[in-house]
Every structure is written in structure tokens, then in C-alpha cells.
Symmetry: C2
Subunit: 183 residues, 2 copies
């Protein structure tokens, strides 16, 4: 039941905005009384926090080459942009709607993804993995925002092309076939 509430809140918050969705609407959508909802979440603020924490999913590392993993992220972005429930980055939207109170969890999430990329970059290897990871993170963030204001998922491809240029300039060699570096 708690999961049903959170799943519905996730869908509505992400689809229409946090401030635009009231607790009555969430409860009505599931078909439960508002009283039941408040038995599982003491306040809307708590529900919002659970919603953002749920979106905070750790990035998975596969066994594929680091470069491929990073570039594959942009393909995943394009599919996300093309999906009908894409409405921009939930964390950035939360900061825009709720102010700096939501900035902490948003920052944590972004930083975690950047560190994931940075670790991959050290295994490529490239010059200055730290700086490059920040640049790639900026590209990802910009692709999300641009895909939102335009309706065009293809900006992910432009961002991917830019990422390839940055990686090449940093000395990354595609598919060196010497992937004997066990991970």
C-alpha cells in the first residue's frame, strides 16, 4: 500500500509538478481515503521527500568498456526524452518549485552520477578525469533542459557528439581492445 501511494505520487508529481498536485488528488487516484494516505505519510513534505529519494537510483556499472558505458548513457537519455512521461529532471524541477530546500538531495544525486563517470574516466584513461566528468555532467544537464523546452529528443544525439569530441580531445582511445584491465 505504501508502495502504491509512492508510485502514484511519483507519477503525478513528475507529470504535473509537485505544487500542482494535492494530496486529495493522489488519494483519489488510488481510490483510498485521504485519511489512509496520512497513515503512511505524516505530511506532504514527507511524501515529497520519499518521491525524490525514490528517484535517487544509484547508477549501475556494467562490465562493458568505460567509454561505451558513458556514451551509452546518452542513448538512454534519448529514449527517456522520447518517452511520454518525460518532463525534465525531477530534481531540477523540485528545486525550481520548492526552492533551495530541495537542493541538497538534488546535488547529492548529480554528484553521485558525476563521480561514477569520473571513476570510469580514470580507467579509460583520460587527462584530468575530474574536469572532464564535470563537463560531461554539464552536457547531460543541458541535454535534459534543452529536450524539455524544445520537444526534440534528438538533442541527446548532439550532446553525445559533443561528448565524443571532448573525450577524444582528452586522449581517450575508442575500443583499445586491450581491455585486460580487470574491474
Amino acid at each position: 500500500m505504501q508502495e502504491r501511494i509512492l508510485a502514484t505520487a511519483d507519477r503525478l508529481f513528475n507529470g504535473e509538478g509537485i505544487r500542482a498536485v494535492g494530496v486529495d488528488k493522489i488519494a483519489a487516484e488510488i481510490g483510498i481515503s485521504k485519511r489512509t494516505l496520512y497513515n503512511y505519510y505524516a505530511s506532504k513534505e514527507e511524501l515529497v521527500h520519499a518521491y525524490l529519494s525514490r528517484r535517487y537510483v544509484p547508477v549501475r556499472s556494467s562490465s562493458r568498456p568505460p567509454l561505451e558505458q558513458i556514451l551509452h548513457l546518452f542513448d538512454w537519455l534519448e529514449r527517456w526524452f522520447a518517452s511520454d512521461n518525460f518532463r525534465g529532471c525531477p530534481f531540477v524541477n523540485a528545486v525550481a518549485e520548492l526552492g533551495t530546500s530541495a537542493a541538497q538531495i538534488a546535488c547529492d544525486f548529480k554528484e553521485q552520477r558525476r563521480v561514477w563517470m569520473c571513476e570510469l574516466l580514470t580507467r579509460v584513461p583520460v587527462a584530468d578525469p575530474e574536469g572532464l566528468s564535470v563537463q560531461l555532467a554539464i552536457l547531460i544537464e543541458g541535454a535534459i533542459a534543452s529536450a524539455l523546452v524544445r520537444g526534440d529528443p534528438k538533442v541527446a544525439r548532439c550532446a553525445k557528439a559533443a561528448a565524443e569530441v571532448l573525450l577524444t580531445a582528452a586522449g581517450a582511445r575508442r575500443d583499445p581492445e586491450s581491455s585486460s584491465q580487470r574491474v
Copy 2:
């Protein structure tokens, strides 16, 4: 008076969010009655539209070299990020708060800035000015979002460095001193 209302609305909308600021607060901030405010703007929606239109300022083209103009934009971004009234891109925030109804004017604004860069790029010149202008726009957008979630204005410098790499890779030559190409 109309300007005073709009200026105050601009400050509050940008500083606290559109949905978070009521017309009462705007009127009280100026010291006028709510009735007076409604004499100049028939509805809050009209005031919001005026607020976004006001933010829609055409980019200025100077007589300086095209490359310098583009790179200078990132310096301007860093100063903006460091200012105390920075709260992300007002257009992206409006889309996040009001949904796709605000997407049109946001898209117009972003596209206008991209076209401005694209025209500058054709005068550099570079290969594929269209594609590169989209990539630079993504960098700008990403820098804004990243500076918002982190509190760090220095991401503008990382974005600028990335832009320099992209420009160099596209064949742009810094300060060719052969700026005889009159515009």
C-alpha cells in the same frame, strides 16, 4: 506604475517562484492596493506572461570578434551565477512550474540565442555551424542547471573550457587577426 508592478513581479517571481508568489504579496511589496494592480493587469496569468516577455531580451551583437563574443557569454554566465538573485533559468523554471503552456516562449528565447550564436559561428568560420550552435546551447543550459543545484558559479568556467575544445575541434582559429570580414 505599470513598470513598477512588473519590476516587482519580476523580482519576486524569479526569486521565489511563480506559484509561490501571490498577487497580494506583489501589491503589498509595492505598497499599492490589490485593486490597483488589477487595473493594470487583468489577471495573474497576464502578469506572468509580461514577466516572461520582459525576460525575453534580444541578445546584443557587438563589433568584437565572433569567437570572443561567444566565449564572453560564459564569463557573463559566471557573473550571473555568482549574483545573489540567480535562481536558474526563469524560462525553464516556468516550464517546470506551469507545464507546457510556458514552453512556447521559452523555446522561442532559447532558439533566438542559438541562432545568434549560429550566425557568429558562420563568420568564424567553423564546420557545421548549426550543429555546433546546438552543442553550445546545450553547454549553456547545462551550466545554468548545474550552477543551480550546486551553489558553485565556477561551473561556468568548466563549460567555457568545453566550449573552447568544441570550437577548436570544429576548426575555429582564435584571433586570426584577419578580421577583414566586415559584417
